[in-house]
C-alpha cells in the first residue's frame, strides 16, 4: 500500500525569461502530482541572473506552487534528470507523501562563521522534526560554494606564478573570507558540524555554484534569495532509503609526505620538506613551468590527491595554485598521502558501482550530488551517466545536481567528503 502513496515528479524549464522559467519549472512538476507537494527542491543555472533575476524566478515558482510548500535549492553548474543532462535551465523535484514530516532550515554567513551557520540551520530541523513518529531521517545539506576573490592587478585566477603576488594573494584570501565572504565554501566544516548536531540523520551534501567560474552563487529558501547561506531539507519518514558515495579514483604508487600546511590547513606548503609545487611536479615527472592557467584544467584535475582529515580519506583536486603552495578545498591534516588518477571510464564505473549499492531498494525517487568537474571533464559524454541512472530509475523521478564539494554522511559510514565523487540518496522500499 505504501508504495502507491508516494508521488514524485520532476519539473523542468529551458525558458530564458526568469519569471516564465520559474512558473514552468513549478507547473511541470505540480501537474504530475494528485496531491500538493510535501516539499519542493529547486535548482537552476546562473543564467537567470541576467534574464530577469532570481527574485523574478522565485516569484514565477510561487505563482504556481501551493502556499506553504517547503522549498529550498539554489544555483548549480548543471543538472540531470529523467529528461536529460543540462548546463542551462531549471529543474525541480516535487514529492508528495503523507507518511513524511518535512522541515527546512537556514543558516547565514557561512564563509565567515561556518560553525554558527551549521548549528543555526540544524537546530531548525531538529526543532521541527523532534516529535515526528518516523524513525528514518534524511537531510540535504546545501551550502553556498566557493567564490574566488578578485585579487587587485591579477583578477580571478587558478594559477599564480609570482611569489610576491602569491604571498599577497594568500593574505587577501584570508581577509576576504572574513570581511566580504569571498573565498572557499567551507562546506566541509559545515557538513562536519551538521553531522555532529544531527547524528541520527543520513545526509547528502551539495554546494551552490555558478557556471564553473566561481564568481557568485545563490541559495533559495522559500521565497527568499540568499548568498553565503546553508539551507537544509530534513525529512522523517517510514520510507526506506540509504546514501552512498563512490568516486572511481585509483591510488597510484606516487606517495609523499605533507610536511607543512598553511592558510588554516587549506594549503599544502611543503612536501617531503621541500616547496610543494616543484616537488609535486617532480613526483609527476612534469617539467618545471608545465602548470599554467590553461593547462591546469587538462592536467592536475586528472591527478587528485588522497588527503586525510581526522583519519578519513579525502580525495580532492587542487583548484588553486599560488607559486609553491597547493590550495585544497577543505581542511586537511598533514602526513603520508598518495596521488590518485581517474579516467572518464572510471567515472562512469563509479556511477554503476554506486547504483549497485541500492539493488535491494525498489526506488520511488532519488537525489544525487556530483562534482561539477565531472561535468566539465565528460562534457556531452555525461549523457552516458544519465542513461545509466535512467535505466535504474526507469519512470521514477530522479534529480542530480552538479556541485563544487559534495559528500554523504551516515552514522554507519561516517562522513565521506570527496571531489570528483558521485553521491546518491535513494528512497523507496526494500525489495522482498
Amino acid at each position: 500500500m505504501r508504495e502507491s502513496e508516494v508521488e514524485a515528479a520532476i519539473g523542468m524549464s529551458r525558458k530564458w525569461d526568469a519569471w516564465e522559467a520559474g512558473r514552468e519549472v513549478a507547473e511541470t512538476a505540480i501537474q504530475q502530482l494528485k496531491e500538493p507537494p510535501s516539499f519542493f527542491l529547486l535548482f537552476s543555472t546562473i543564467h537567470y541572473e541576467r534574464y530577469g533575476g532570481f527574485q523574478e524566478f522565485l516569484d514565477g515558482v510561487w505563482d504556481v506552487l501551493p502556499v506553504g510548500t517547503p522549498l529550498i535549492g539554489g544555483t548549480v553548474a548543471g543538472f540531470m534528470n529523467n529528461y536529460g543532462c543540462y548546463s542551462r535551465g531549471a529543474s525541480a523535484l516535487a514529492v508528495s507523501y503523507p507518511s513524511m514530516d518535512v522541515a527546512i532550515g537556514v543558516g547565514k554567513n557561512t564563509k565567515r562563521n561556518p560553525y554558527r551557520a551549521a548549528r543555526q540551520c540544524a537546530a531548525m530541523i531538529q526543532q521541527t522534526l523532534k516529535k515526528s513518529p518516523y524513525q528514518n531521517k534524511f537531510l540535504l545539506n546545501f551550502i553556498s560554494g566557493p567564490v574566488m576573490p578578485s585579487i587587485p592587478g591579477v583578477g580571478q585566477k587558478k594559477y599564480i606564478r609570482s611569489g610576491f603576488v602569491s604571498k599577497f594573494a594568500t593574505q587577501v584570501l584570508g581577509l576576504s573570507q572574513a570581511t566580504v565572504q569571498k573565498g572557499l565554501g567551507r562546506e566541509d566544516e559545515i557538513f562536519e558540524e551538521t553531522s555532529q548536531q544531527l547524528p541520527d540523520y543520513q545526509m547528502i551534501l551539495g554546494t551552490s555554484m555558478d557556471d564553473y567560474k566561481g564568481m557568485r552563487n545563490y541559495q533559495f529558501y522559500n521565497d527568499k534569495i540568499l548568498k553565503n547561506a546553508v539551507v537544509n531539507l530534513g525529512l522523517a519518514t517510514n520510507l526506506d532509503f540509504n546514501v552512498c558515495t563512490t568516486h572511481g579514483m585509483k591510488e597510484t604508487d606516487l606517495r609523499f609526505k605533507i610536511t607543512k600546511l598553511g592558510a588554516n590547513n587549506h594549503a599544502i606548503c611543503k612536501i617531503n620538506d621541500k616547496p610543494a609545487v616543484p616537488e609535486l611536479l617532480k613526483l609527476l615527472d612534469w617539467p618545471e613551468g608545465f602548470l599554467t592557467e590553461e593547462t591546469m584544467l587538462h592536467t592536475i584535475l586528472y591527478y587528485p590527491i588522497s588527503l586525510k582529515r581526522r583519519g578519513r580519506q579525502v580525495p580532492v583536486v587542487a583548484p588553486l595554485i599560488m607559486k609553491d603552495y597547493i590550495f585544497v578545498p577543505c581542511i586537511i591534516d598533514d602526513g603520508e598521502v598518495s596521488i590518485l588518477t581517474v579516467s572518464g571510464k572510471d567515472l562512469i564505473n563509479a556511477v554503476k558501482e554506486n547504483l549497485d549499492f541500492f539493488k535491494q531498494i525498489q526506488p520511488e525517487f532519488g537525489l544525487c550530488s556530483t562534482c561539477m568537474t565531472i561535468l566539465q571533464t565528460l562534457g556531452d559524454k555525461t549523457n552516458m551517466i544519465q542513461e545509466e541512472i535512467h535505466k535504474f530509475f526507469k519512470d521514477k523521478a530522479f534529480l542530480l545536481f552538479y556541485s563544487a564539494g559534495e559528500g554523504t554522511f551516515s552514522s554507519a559510514k561516517d562522513i565521506t567528503y570527496a571531489n570528483m565523487s558521485f553521491n546518491t540518496a535513494i528512497f523507496g522500499n526494500i525489495k522482498k
Binding site: 530564458w16 553548474a77 543532462c85 543540462y86 548546463s87 557556471d211 561535468l375 562534457g379 556531452d380
Partner: protein, 141 residues
C-alpha cells in the same frame, strides 16, 4: 529565417556567453544561421581563416560520417571550432568557442542542440514524405 525552428535552436545557443558563433553547415555551404545572422564581434577578424579550415574539416566529415564519425574539433589561434556531426550525413552543427572556455559545460548544451535539431529534421522529413504521398494520391486519382 525567424520562423525556422532550427534557427531558433541556434539562437538559444548564441545566448550562451562563450558561444561566439554557431551554424548548421556542410562543405562549402552554411545551411542555417541563427535568426539574427550575427556572430559575436570577436570572431569577425578571424572568420575567413576559420571558414577555410572548416571546409577542409568537412572533407574529413564527408569521408567518415558514414562509418560513425560523430565529433571533430580544431583549434585556430585563440578559438576552438567544434563539429557535432548529424549521423550518416555530411552536415554538422558547428560552434566556435574561446580556447579557454569551460568547454565541458558548453558541450552539454551543444549536444542538446544537436539532438533538438535532429528531431526537427526528422519531423520535417516525415512531413515531406507525407506530402509526397498525398501528391501521389492526387495524381493517381
Amino acid at each position: 529565417m525567424k520562423d525556422d525552428p532550427i534557427a531558433q535552436v541556434l539562437d538559444d545557443l548564441m545566448r550562451l556567453d562563450d558561444i561566439l558563433a554557431c551554424m548548421v553547415a556542410r562543405r562549402n555551404m552554411i545551411s542555417v544561421m541563427p535568426s539574427t545572422e550575427a556572430f559575436k564581434p570577436e570572431v569577425n577578424p578571424i572568420w575567413d581563416n576559420i571558414h577555410r579550415a572548416m571546409d577542409d574539416v568537412f572533407g574529413v566529415i564527408g569521408a567518415y560520417s558514414q562509418i560513425g564519425l560523430g565529433e571533430m574539433e580544431f583549434r585556430l589561434q585563440d578559438y576552438e571550432v567544434l563539429f557535432y556531426v548529424f549521423p550518416d550525413t555530411e552536415n554538422a552543427l558547428v560552434a566556435i568557442v574561446p580556447a579557454l572556455a569551460n568547454k565541458g559545460l558548453l558541450e552539454v548544451e551543444i549536444e542538446n542542440a544537436r539532438r533538438e535539431i535532429l528531431k526537427i529534421m526528422k519531423k520535417q522529413e516525415q512531413e515531406f514524405q507525407e506530402s509526397k504521398k498525398d501528391d501521389a494520391v492526387v495524381v493517381n486519382a
